[in-house]
């Protein structure tokens, strides 16, 4: 089947999803989620846009999407997409009050990169993947236009594009939309570095041109009290490579929805994430990888740690392999390390496979305490239990952080994580028992 074939919608073979869960489920605490029920077919395919980027896939999108906030209704908290979110705390964003508030931008733009903006109604915006929930639709609408980072085709940047986005402490909601458009065969890394105090709803769309290699790093290093909701979309061109690294450390509530679709065959997407939730922090990461064309790969690795009363994380990993997506290879893994009592991690991987002609598909999810075997191994080399635990937790994070590939940023994030671990009294209360 070629990429241009227009696949028809078939009944979802949810049995194979469940089966895959059993086959690939991993270890203690493994949890396979129920197959997602797609909303009735009101969704629209991502449209074409006029900037020479990826072409539309033409595949049906069962997930309801719309640019109109009211098309979603006002969420009550009982909806599948909102049931994990503390509605009171996200209310300031969902209220949707118009505002001109902004984050403070500090930019570092290497040669070959252009930062511009487009007005609402620009054809570029019409072609973006649509919002999947009311908050994302509000962000798209309220932001009015979009900031656009353009990387010329075949550009090889000598350093990452960095957008420092700092909250000013205002109570007003900041609405934002960013489009990162990377031309064919270009190679670029873009870092979004969120700091400070803000109420922020921001959409981010990355259009990865054919054969391009793009890394998007999004750091949520917010000050306490910040609220951040956002939809991230990547449209991966033919034979292109997209890597996303999400690092969520700060803020009161962070809820990010990351979607990937492929505009042509041969694309590859890697989605890495790391989060660390302290007392009362809510960190929610929802992923949706939509394989609708042949011979694409996706790899998802999210790891989180939780400590303190009311620390809460949610990870939803949806991967769909549509009938046309033959030759797909996908794997997703979520691990949560619960460091103290009173913390709760939800983890729901969900794989739906609609064709048998795939290379491989699997998912795993595990949530638990320290791995006794790892601690034993380290201690059996003379390392005391406290140091061993620090090594294990540090390693747990490093495993993902090292995918960023920017030493200075990695060091800064690991230092922040070290500080947070330093404030971990419960480590002393958890001796390795010796028989």
């Amino acid at each position: 089947m070629s990429a241009s074939d227009n696949p028809t919608t078939t009944g979802l073979t949810t049995e194979s999803a469940v089966l895959a869960g059993e086959l690939f489920g991993d270890g203690v605490g493994t949890q396979a989620g129920p197959p997602a029920t797609p909303a009735e077919g009101t969704g629209v395919a991502p449209g074409a846009h006029s900037h020479g980027g990826p072409a539309p896939t033409g595949s049906p999108a069962e997930r309801f999407t719309s640019t109109d906030p009211d098309a979603f209704g006002v969420p009550t908290g009982r909806e599948e997409t909102w049931r994990f979110t503390p509605m009171k705390r996200i209310k300031p964003l969902l209220d949707g009050a118009e505002s001109d508030a902004h984050l403070t931008w500090t930019t570092d733009l290497p040669e070959g990169v252009e930062l511009t903006s487009v007005e609402a109604g620009d054809p570029l915006l019409k072609g973006l993947p649509e919002p999947v929930d009311r908050l994302a639709a509000l962000a798209r609408q309220r932001s009015g236009g979009a900031a656009v980072v353009r990387v010329a085709k075949e550009a090889q940047l000598d350093r990452p594009v960095t957008l420092g986005l700092a909250g000013t402490g205002s109570d007003e909601v900041v609405w934002g939309q960013l489009v990162v458009e990377v031309g064919a065969f270009a190679k670029a890394t873009v870092v979004l570095d969120h700091t400070g105090l803000a109420r922020y709803a921001g959409g981010v769309t990355v259009l990865v041109g054919d054969g391009a290699q793009v890394s998007l790093v999004s750091v949520q290093d917010w000050a306490p009290g910040a609220v951040h909701g956002g939809q991230y979309d990547a449209v991966v061109g033919r034979d292109a490579t997209f890597k996303q690294v999400v690092v969520t450390l700060g803020g009161d509530l962070v809820r990010l929805v990351s979607n990937v679709q492929y505009a042509g065959p041969g694309g590859s997407a890697e989605l890495f994430g790391v989060y660390f939730s302290d007392e009362t922090q809510h960190q929610e990461h929802r992923l949706w990888v939509d394989h609708a064309v042949p011979n694409c790969t996706s790899n998802v690795l999210y790891k989180g740690a939780l400590q303190g009363e009311g620390a809460r994380t949610v990870w939803i990993g949806d991967v769909r392999i549509r009938p046309a997506a033959t030759g797909t290879e996908t794997y997703e893994l979520n691990r949560n390390l619960v460091l103290t009592d009173g913390a709760r991690a939800d983890s729901v991987p969900n794989l739906e496979i609609e064709t048998g002609e795939i290379v491989g598909a699997g998912h795993a999810s595990a949530t638990g305490r320290f791995d006794d075997e790892q601690l034993f191994y380290l201690c059996s080399r003379g390392i005391d239990a406290e140091t061993a635990r620090r090594l294990v937790v540090r390693g747990f994070f490093t495993d993902v952080v090292q995918h960023i590939g920017i030493d200075a940023l990695q060091d800064r994030l690991m230092a922040t994580i070290d500080d947070r671990l330093g404030a971990l009294p419960a480590l002393d209360d958890q001796p390795v028992e010796v028989a």
Partner: protein, 257 residues
Amino acid sequence: MSVLEIRDLHVSVGEGDDAKEILRGVDLTVRSGETHAIMGPNGSGKSTLAYSIAGHPKYTITGGTVTLDGEDVLAMSVDERARAGLFLAMQYPVEVPGVSVSNFLRTAATAIKGEAPKLRTWVKDVKSEMELLEMDPAFAERNVNEGFSGGEKKRHEILQMRLLKPGIAILDETDSGLDVDALRIVSEGVNRSREEGEIGVLLITHYTRILRYIKPDFVHVFVNGKVVEEGGPELAEKLENEGYAAYVKGSQEVASA
């Protein structure tokens, strides 16, 4: 000079009604300069013995004593045992994601020696030991045991033994899963420690193959949770020819390979 003394050791796994006795009265003494081979069929409790000495939390000591130079090993935490001079090369080394081999080795050496080893000599020591074990230098930057082949894991265990210089080393099936080249390289590593004189080795194996490279002074046949026969190297030859059948009723187990 170290002496590891195991007396009438009883060990069980599992809790309450599920508790199952695995070791049923093990007696063994290992001194510096001696190499003891423990040979037994699968499931006889060899790893249980190794883990119990090292202090794995899964095993419950229900009776007996283990001492190192007269000190009560069973009263020590896992890390204290290692610092007292015990080392266990594991049958199934554990992956530790995100912790590099070089960081791990240096942290372990610092713990064992009580101070950070001098950087210059340390780097040189690690490099030359890795060369002798025919390990790629890039190895040091990989995460501990992550994605290692079976042979790489075992070389990594022996590398640790070489660098941490224990008084007593327990090698749990370090030979299993190795091809002939890897077996020779790993055995030579063990023999370097033996030639330096002060190490006592407890060599746990299912097969006689490794004993062609590492000559034991004593051989103990281990069946069903205890030592059932002891002798010199000639006992290994007997096992090579006759297998464990004489010790295990109805067993088809063969010791030679």
